[in-house]
């Protein structure tokens, strides 16, 4: 192998091509720990595209609301806006799971509070 080939191989190996690290949730609305009144939609932003598989909301009594995300599973995206149903005031936990374009499965949750208007 020539020196030129070795340098090329080294450069290719070190170059961060496409997705090498997993997707991470960078922002959401409502955000982690936020107190909001009657949110109409849930916005999730990731640093890298992924396919959302499940998004659920759980209240403090353990009642689960599963959001319909069937239209999002087929195509990966870095930004999702999901309509929310009418939610009762109180603490809620949002749990999302997704599959990165690299095939990595992820699951995370965060909480927010709905305050009476």
């Amino acid at each position: 192998m020539s020196v030129r080939s070795l340098i090329l191989a080294a450069v290719l190996a070190f170059t961060p091509l496409a997705v090498s690290a997993h997707s991470v949730l960078t922002a959401s609305e409502p955000g982690q720990g936020a107190a909001v009144s009657a949110p109409q939609e849930l916005s999730l932003q990731f640093n890298k595209p992924l396919r959302l598989v499940f998004v659920t909301l759980t209240d403090i009594d353990g009642q689960v609301v599963t959001l319909d995300i069937s239209s999002f599973i087929s195509e990966p995206s870095a930004n999702f806006i999901l309509p929310l149903p009418a939610l009762a005031p109180g603490g809620w936990t949002i749990t999302w799971s997704g599959l990165g374009t690299d095939g990595h499965a992820m699951r995370e949750e965060f909480t927010f509070t709905i305050v009476p208007e």
Partner: protein, 264 residues
């Protein structure tokens, strides 16, 4: 639930060490190929792959029986590397059948490591770096179990000496390949090393250094004494191998955690 894929990855890495690692050690250093250990590793590997697939489904659905949730198995099969996982299962399956032919053993070992590297979440051009890293790490780890098997002092000294010579070459390349992988995972942003991921990487590095130090002590102090056929150095060498085995298990644990998490 979050730890299931990490446990599954750890099981796959342990299985790969017992099969491919042992195979590579047998081919390169002429160490005895431990048939039973390899068969056990192959079975554990196949179970681990099934567990890995199920753990991904469990993580996605938040349910232990997530793999049975309609659509999930199909989704994971298509997008979560189902075909690659099947390839890894096939490679593990080959270790159920023992061959004396060293070339076949080398081929089986490389096939398995290619499969595991392919299963990673790296890009096509980065997977060869992981393959090289796995190859060298498992050559190193693979020598431990055969060295624990009773053998004559002279043979043990000869093989340990042969490994000691190659280890000097393995270690620097292993560090370069490992460093490249860290660079890839962090996208060259070394600020990412200040978080939990960086802490785990430092922990892994510390254990690799410890294994290196034990290897150096074996090479410089213990192995030369074995050639004089004293009993005490053989015992010291075996004790060092047991410690090495525990260190490698810890390193594999760190590796499984690191590959499942993101530097933030």
């Amino acid at each position: 639930m979050d730890s299931l894929p990490i446990i599954a990855r750890l099981m796959i890495l342990i299985s790969a060490t017992l099969t491919a690692g042992g195979g590579l050690a047998a081919v390169i250093f002429g160490l005895p190929a431990l048939k039973r250990v390899q068969r056990f590793g192959a079975l554990l590997g196949i179970v681990s792959c099934v567990f890995y697939f199920s753990s991904q489904a469990a993580l996605l659905t938040g349910r232990w029986d997530g793999v049975f949730v309609p659509g999930i198995a199909h989704l994971l099969w298509q997008l979560g590397g189902g075909a690659t996982l099947l390839f890894v299962v096939f490679a593990f399956l080959l270790f159920l059948f023992h061959h004396e032919n060293r070339l076949l053993l080398l081929g089986k070992s490389c096939l398995l490591l290619i499969g595991i590297a392919w299963l990673s979440h790296l890009t096509l051009l980065q997977k060869p770096v992981l393959f090289l890293h796995l190859l060298l790490a498992l050559i190193w780890a693979g020598v431990i179990l055969p060295f624990l098997k009773p053998m004559q002092s002279a043979t043990l000294a000869q093989m340990a000496h042969r490994f000691g010579r190659v280890a000097v070459l393995i270690l620097p390349v292993l560090f370069v390949a490992g460093g490249t992988l860290v660079w890839i995972r962090t996208d060259g942003d070394l600020q990412a090393l200040w978080g939990n991921w960086g802490l785990a990487m430092t922990g892994k590095l510390a254990f690799v250094m410890l294994a290196g130090a034990i290897g150096l002590r074996n090479k410089l102090k213990i192995v030369p004494e074995i050639s004089d056929a004293y009993d005490a150095p053989v015992k010291a060498f075996r004790s060092a191998m047991v410690v090495d085995a525990l260190i490698f298990l810890t390193i594999l644990g760190f590796s499984a955690w690191l590959s499942n998490n993101t530097p933030v």
